[in-house]
Every structure is written in C-alpha cells, then in structure tokens.
Amino acid sequence: MAQQAINRTVVPTSGLWTSAPGDAIAPQYTPWCQNVRFRFGKVLRSPGRSVVLDQGLSGSIMDFATHFDANGNRHIIALGASSLSNGYAALYNPTTFKFTLLGLLQVTSLQDLRFSWAMGEEQLFIARASQISRLSLRSINDYNLGQFAPTPTGCYLAYFKNHLFCANILADPISIPVGNNASSGPMPNRIRWSAEGDYRNWNMGIQGDGTVAGGFLDLYDGIVEPITGMKVLNDRLVVYRNSSITDLNATGDALTQFLPENRVFGIGCMLPWSLASVGQFHIFVGNDFNIYAWDGSNLDPIGSPIHSYVRQVLNFAGSSGWQSIPFAAAFMGFKEYWLVIPDPVGGTYNVLIYDYFRNAWTHDVFTGLSALFEQILPGSMSSAGWDGDNYTVNYPVLMAASGN
C-alpha cells in the first residue's frame, strides 16, 4: 500500500513571477496573484481604497503635484484638463478632502499627453506638451497662476542646478543663434534650459549686458531619437531616450553650462511616464519591455519576473490619448513602485507593484485610475472600512484619481 506523502510549503513571499510557465516557478514565487502583498513571511491584503472623497472638477485629474512656498508650507495640487486648451490647477484641502479650482494654465497643448511638472524658485512649473505655466502659491487667496513669458513648448520638465529644464521641444519662440543647425520647429531630441536662477529668461548665450542666459543641447550620440523623460539623480540630470541614457553634467563654466555624458546605449526609457524616482535610483520601462532600475552606474533589470506580462498587456494599437498612456508612481512609504497600465476601453487598469525592499512583484486591479501620488496625510477617518488603531495620524497614502 502506498504511503501518504506530506509536503509543507511556505507561502510565496518572493512575489509574482509571470514570465515563466507555472511548473517552472520555484515555490517561493506565485505565477499569478491579485490585490495581495507579500510581507513578513505571509500573504497580506493590499492597501484599502476609501470612498470617493471629492468629485466635480471639470475634466479628469491627470496628475498631482507638490508646491512648497518660501516659508516651507506644502500644498498639494491637482492638474487636469478636459481639452487641449483648458488645463487647470486645483488646491487640495487635507481637512475637507476637497479641491478648490485655482484657475486655468493659459497654455494650449500640442499633443494629448500627460502633464510634467517641476518645482523651483518657489514656483511650480507645469507643462503638457505646451509652453510652461507656473503656480506661485502662498494661500488659497494669494497665488499667481498662468503663463509667465514666452517659453519653449516641450513635454518634460525638471529643475536642476538652479535652471529650469524643458525637453523634447515641440516649438520654440526664441530663435536659435545663427550657426546652429535647428529652427524653431520641433526638436524632440533637444533640451532647453533657462537662465540661472531666472525661470523667466529663456534667451540663449551671451546677452547684451555680458551675462549668460539659458541654453540648449541636442542629443545626437548613439542614435537620434526623441527624449522620453528626465529626472534628477544625485548631482546629475539623467535624460532618457528610447534606447539610451545620458547624464547632463554641470560644468561650472558660464558659456558651456551643461555637457552630456553618455551612460547607456541600447537600453532606454520606452514609456515616458513610467519613469519614477525613489531617491537613490530611477525605475522605468525599457525599450525591451523589461523594467529597469538605474542608480547612475548599474542598470538592474528588476522586471524579469513580469517581463512577458508587460509585453502582453501593453496595447499600443488601442491608444486613445492620455488616458491610455501608462504611468507610474513611487510609494516610498511602502518601498513600492507602482506601474499603471491602463485599458480605458475595457475598464481594467492593471497595476504592477514592485516592492524594492523585498524584491517582489505583485499585481492589483482597478476599474479606473488616472493619477497616483504619494503623500503623508491624515486620511479620511469617516471612510467606510477605516481602522486607524495603532497608526499615526499622518501616514503614507497614495492619492488616486479615477475618471472624472
């Protein structure tokens, strides 16, 4: 008579692995999962989702941003639009959980993309394939919002070394000095920057009074292709293209203010809004559909477990404007990177979540998701399911926007 065999197996706390057949996966991984987390040697629920806290802003909230004023006061701003010409900014009240419309950005977007924003000089700079708007906010009754000067029209913003940067230039009202091989037309591989400490001055080179204003740089090395994102990493501005990663270094020289330093050729950022910074490294979806962490010297393919799944669910043919653009958020309070792959037609928003502390992937499903942003907030204590026992009042949460 056959003897009973007994197998004891711990739960798969190393997370999700979808790019291998289920029978080839080691027992510490799961081939598929949904709305769970793998922590402390067990399987836990994912963070809860509170009831709708506010609605009524015209158009969708497409992004959230943080604004600090000169006194260090922090304000949370929602950015949204319902057409290419009516982008708006709204101020969040963490006590009432409501947004107050501040006004329109007064610029027109040339493409149906998501927002990009950066903070510097007590201003929040905002662009959506448009000229740059700024928000200077001291209180709900004391703020300036709108366009401040003729600026380049671009897709990505960053603030670095006291200059405001704009990349992937779609149009430029400021003529390029004679001798340079570009017009004022689209230059998707171009980076422009403003004068040092003066975000209003986008002139280039030596000015009439002998001072040096802003500048530009076209990235040609390796392959000429559009810039797909940029973020600051330590003392460098990392500029991503589809298949390359380039650092921008401050030279200290007044005339040649920044120089490119090529770091990676062959791998770059394919999905611009998948780029997120978690402090010591950036995470993004690469042009080979894998997900990478770039710490300035080591390109780490962290997405190997879900590589095939990303390739499977990305649907470029079904793209319908900004709603279809994958985006990401860093949830540093939980050591997580959230990659949202939307399907607005099917109504399924797959979110792949990487726990970079435990090197584990998991998978959440939402019915609508248009923006995510980490904040430390008191939370809505009147929300159903609220259980604040043993938690601090202010706690890391993700603000989430869904549809209109």
């Binding site: 065999a5 004891r8 739960v11 289920g22 029978d23 609220w386």
Partner: protein
Amino acid sequence: MIDERVKGDWLDRPTDGGMDMFWDTPDMYYAPTGLLNGTLERVLVFKDLPILAGLEAPFNLEISIDRGNSFPYVETIKPINEHWGFEFTDMNITSNIRRYRFFYPKENGVATPSVRAYTDVYVPSGEFFPTIRALNPPDANLPPPNLN
C-alpha cells in the same frame, strides 16, 4: 485615496468593500518526471491567530489539475478562532499535477488574509497516463495516430 488603514475597496464596492484577492501556488507535479499520479487527500492551511471575529471572511481553496487553465475544485474555508489557526480541507483528486489558488471573493466582503504556509497530504497512485486526448488539433509535425 489608497490607504493601508482602510480595509477593503470601498471605491468599487461601496456596499461591503469586498475585493477579489487571490494568489496561486506554482504548478507542482507529484514526481519530478511528471509521470506519477497522486491522489490528493487533504490540504492544511496555516494562518495567523487569533482570528478576530468578523474580520476574516470565508475564502476558497481552489485546485487546478490543468496548470491553471481551470479551477474546478473549490473548497470554502471559514476561519474560526477555535481552530488555532489551522484550517483543514479534505478532498479526493487524482492527477499528476496540482496548483492551489487561495481566493477571497469580493462577494464575501472585506477579508484580511494572513496565510503563512500550507501542507498537502497525498497518496502516490501509480503511473500517469494522459487518458483523454487533448482537444486541440494534433501537431502537424507529428505523424498521424493509428498508423501501426
């Protein structure tokens, strides 16, 4: 707002906060060659204790014997405190491979999974033969059957 202090998904199911949660085990053969059958008799699930009243909704232990294509065997588990964190399910399923899915259906309301491990008990039950031919057309690269 996505908040760990909120239990359940009150955005999509404002009535009870239920949320589909599940995780699968890998596909596990009863023998490294895949050619040995086993008859699964019992699965024991280890959980956190105590089980707080009203906090842990019933969940399903679902079993697939076709590498996750379908989960035809469903055992519902209602964790209670008197079980000391050990939940038993008994079955009688013969196959050469099994995959478990621990599934918390949203219809059961808010759940707080805390599974730590599972133990299955089976009896080796002979050599595996694929007794039912696959429904897909035969591989064009293979000779047609019944030619001998």
